[in-house]
């Protein structure tokens, strides 16, 4: 285990999930996916200019390219000849393809391997070092630390503005909060974060780190602040477990973290209280049963004491009148009796006192 790698991974996870919350809330997840691919073109172009893989210009160029991507996508949508999803698909594939072509033709001798680009290489983080105040630290760790600071700084400084723009862009505009500027500032942060995380986790897996923790957190939370906090916690959890898994199974670190992120989400998707699929299913089933029992009580109440009561309310014949299957009928009668709403004597079904009271409330409604 290498503490530097784990720390870098944690910094990546925290900064990506922090911006991710807003991506999810503002339905910009696929735009972020586009950005994470097109920053490669920025890196490649900046490299063609500087010929130095460690130049800070690479980060600047790539961040700009991410913002430019967002602008280009919006420009295409504005022509009204192309919808948002298609425009994302056209722009990011075009820009990404151009960068792959440049890498394969002009930069064949340079260490800009297309695989590291997509997958990143947390394993190599400790080898590329820089000195900060006399302390030797991995470069990726320093860069990620700075980016995390910038993200935290921006979001805490403009918390109110960002929140308003995320939930009600129109109102933000009316109140003079300049939603367009806030939007582009956020997109710059996303772009910067994607660029910084590029070396560590690559273009595709960074999306899992951005989107998965907020999506998992949103299964539990209702306020923005608690969503942010919980997604940071989940991000840390995913990273630590993912890192441990990668060591135990001797597999890629970034891939493990992304896999665990997906796994955590699937677990919350199914088992979260209230919003989870399992809970919703049980809730739905219970509601359906209650309605069926109420229908049954209505039927019994309406026919009690009438001439055809013997047939309508016979234990053997009632299912033909309710139009339920005999099996369903038996189950429902059983449940209604368990709740003390009906009594069955000599094959005749009658409402209990409790049942009569319930029937009367329906009548009043």
């Amino acid at each position: 285990m290498n503490i530097e790698i784990l720390l870098t991974a944690l910094l990546v996870a925290l900064s990506t999930s922090l911006v991710g919350v807003f991506l999810v809330l503002r339905r910009l997840s696929m735009i972020a996916d586009a950005i994470s691919h097109t920053v490669l073109l920025g890196i490649v172009l900046a490299f063609l200019l500087t010929r130095d893989l460690n130049s800070p210009l690479l980060i600047v160029g790539a961040t700009l390219m991410g913002v430019l991507t967002v602008y280009a996508i919006e420009l295409l949508i504005k022509t009204r000849n192309i919808k948002e999803d298609a425009s994302i698909g056209v722009i990011f594939t075009l820009l990404f393809a151009v960068s792959i072509i440049i890498i394969n033709t002009l930069l064949r001798d340079v260490h800009l391997d297309t695989h590291t680009v997509l997958l990143g290489n947390l394993e190599f983080v400790p080898f590329n070092r820089m000195d900060i105040f006399g302390v030797s630290l991995p470069a990726a760790m320093v860069i990620m630390g700075v980016v995390l600071m910038i993200n935290i700084g921006f979001i805490s400084l403009f918390y109110k503005e960002v929140k308003l723009v995320s939930f009600d862009t129109a109102l933000a505009g009316v109140l003079g909060f300049a939603p367009v500027i806030i939007h582009y500032a956020m997109m710059t942060l996303v772009s910067l974060t994607a660029v910084a995380a590029f070396d560590a986790v690559g273009a595709i897996l960074v999306i899992a780190l951005m989107i998965a923790p907020p999506l998992s957190a949103l299964q539990f939370t209702k306020t923005l602040f608690s969503t942010i906090l919980l997604s940071l916690i989940i991000a840390v959890f995913n990273t630590v477990v993912g890192y441990a898994m990668s060591i135990i199974l001797d597999v890629t670190i970034s891939g493990s973290i992304a896999s665990i992120a997906l796994f955590t989400f699937m677990v919350t998707l199914i088992f979260a209280p209230r919003k989870g699929i399992l809970f919703q299913y049980l809730d739905h089933k219970r509601a359906k049963e209650n309605i069926m029992i109420d229908t049954l009580i209505m039927h019994i109440g309406n026919h009690a004491g009438s001439i055809d009561a013997e047939d309508e309310l016979g234990e053997e014949t009632i299912h033909t009148h309710m139009r339920w299957s005999p099996r369903m009928m038996t189950t429902m009668l059983e449940k209604a009796r368990a709740k003390g709403l009906i009594n069955i004597e000599n094959n005749a079904i009658m409402l209990s006192n409790k049942g009569i009271a319930r029937f009367k409330t329906f009548k009043e409604e």
Binding site: M30, I82, A86, I100, N104, L249, T252, S256, S259
Partner: protein, 344 residues
């Protein structure tokens, strides 16, 4: 330049067939505003390839593609589950499935590489695709699947049309929304699976989206849009493979994607019917006409008192008003046209 070797002819045939079938099928995705689902599914196919390899130990393309197919179908099912059972936004769940499945694929790939099996080389080519190494048997699979896809579109054309343009009505008339969507997704996954072998998981979306976006700029009729999308896809496949064969180091998939992207942008700008430039010209002309004939519009419901004699003379010379300063039929029709706004 135009003498093609056997391999190149093979690659061209494959990419053209793939481009055509992906372009045609993609039309329906784009119209349903689900263009990016192809991106999600192609990434999600990756773990399937690795699992198929782990289980069988063979690198036969067909076996791996079955794995890819199953993984993409699984991803599809998860996406549908999230869509139907939760209120999570579709784009977020797509992004998550995309990169999460890809991450699982990476873990499996690195596991295979760690175990150091000799025949594992080449598994990673699925990320970028490798059209140049196509064999006759591969092309045969591609031809078969493309053929099936085209037959599907022809056979279900009427249903597909109704389904993408008016799903609620389709539901009333045919009662098969889920069936139709499952069928469409099934063929989508088929095309994606053959596509990732050639152009890779990332650029597969270019093949699905760009052709129909381009053809949409030219025509408003679905049948034309579908056919032209097929043509654009095939053209990009042809020139992409050609560029890849003639230029040193040029990868096929990115070449095709760039050609498609350029076609889209050129048509968005220059399409005569709805291109950006044509629209600008029309708007300019309309503004000029409005400026010139604003007094004429005033004349329709008011007396000629407010108009200068020069203006009236001009209109009279153009035959828009008669000697008594009343609108002629020609003047009326001009006003009618102007009030209708900017028209193509």
């Amino acid at each position: 330049m135009f003498e093609f070797s056997y391999t190149l002819r093979l690659v061209m045939l494959g990419t053209m067939m793939l481009g055509a079938s992906a372009g045609m099928l993609g039309t329906f995705l784009v119209l349903r505003r689900q263009a990016l689902i192809g991106d999600a599914l192609s990434h999600a196919a990756l773990p399937g390839i690795m699992i198929a390899y782990l289980f069988t130990g063979v690198r036969s393309l067909n076996v791996l593609l079955v794995g890819a197919f199953l993984a993409a179908l699984t991803a599809m099912a998860v996406l549908e589950l999230i869509k139907r059972r939760t209120r999570i936004k579709f784009d977020a769940s797509m992004a998550l499935i995309l990169s999460g499945f890809f991450g699982v694929g990476q873990v499996l790939l690195s596991h295979i590489q760690q175990s150091g099996v000799a025949s594992q080389a080449g598994l990673s080519t699925f990320i970028f695709g490798q059209a140049a190494s196509m064999l006759r048997a591969d092309v045969r699979v591609i031809m078969l699947i493309s053929f099936v896809v085209v037959v599907f579109i022809l056979f279900f054309y009427k249903e597909l049309k109704l389904y993408v343009f008016d799903t609620p009505y389709f539901n009333v008339a045919m009662r098969g929304e889920r069936f139709m969507s499952a069928l469409l997704n099934f063929f989508l996954v088929l095309v994606i699976v053959i596509g990732i072998r050639m152009v890779g998981v990332i650029l597969m979306s270019a093949l699905l989206i760009a052709p129909s976006v381009a053809s949409r700029q030219i025509s408003n009729r679905l049948v034309m849009v579908v056919l032209l999308a097929g043509v654009f896809g095939a053209v990009a496949g042809f020139f992409g493979s050609l560029a890849s064969a003639r230029i040193d180091g040029m990868p096929t998939g990115p070449a095709i994607a760039v050609i498609l992207g350029v076609i889209v942008i050129v048509l968005l700008l220059f399409s005569p019917r709805r291109g950006v430039i044509a629209n600008q010209i029309r708007l300019k002309r309309y503004k000029r006409l409005m400026k010139r004939y604003k007094p004429l519009i005033h004349l329709k419901e008011n007396s000629a008192d407010a108009l200068s004699q020069t203006t009236l003379n001009i209109y009279r010379n153009e035959g828009l008003i008669d000697q008594t300063n009343h609108l002629t039929t020609r003047g009326e029709s001009l006003i009618h046209r102007l009030m209708g706004g900017v028209r193509p």
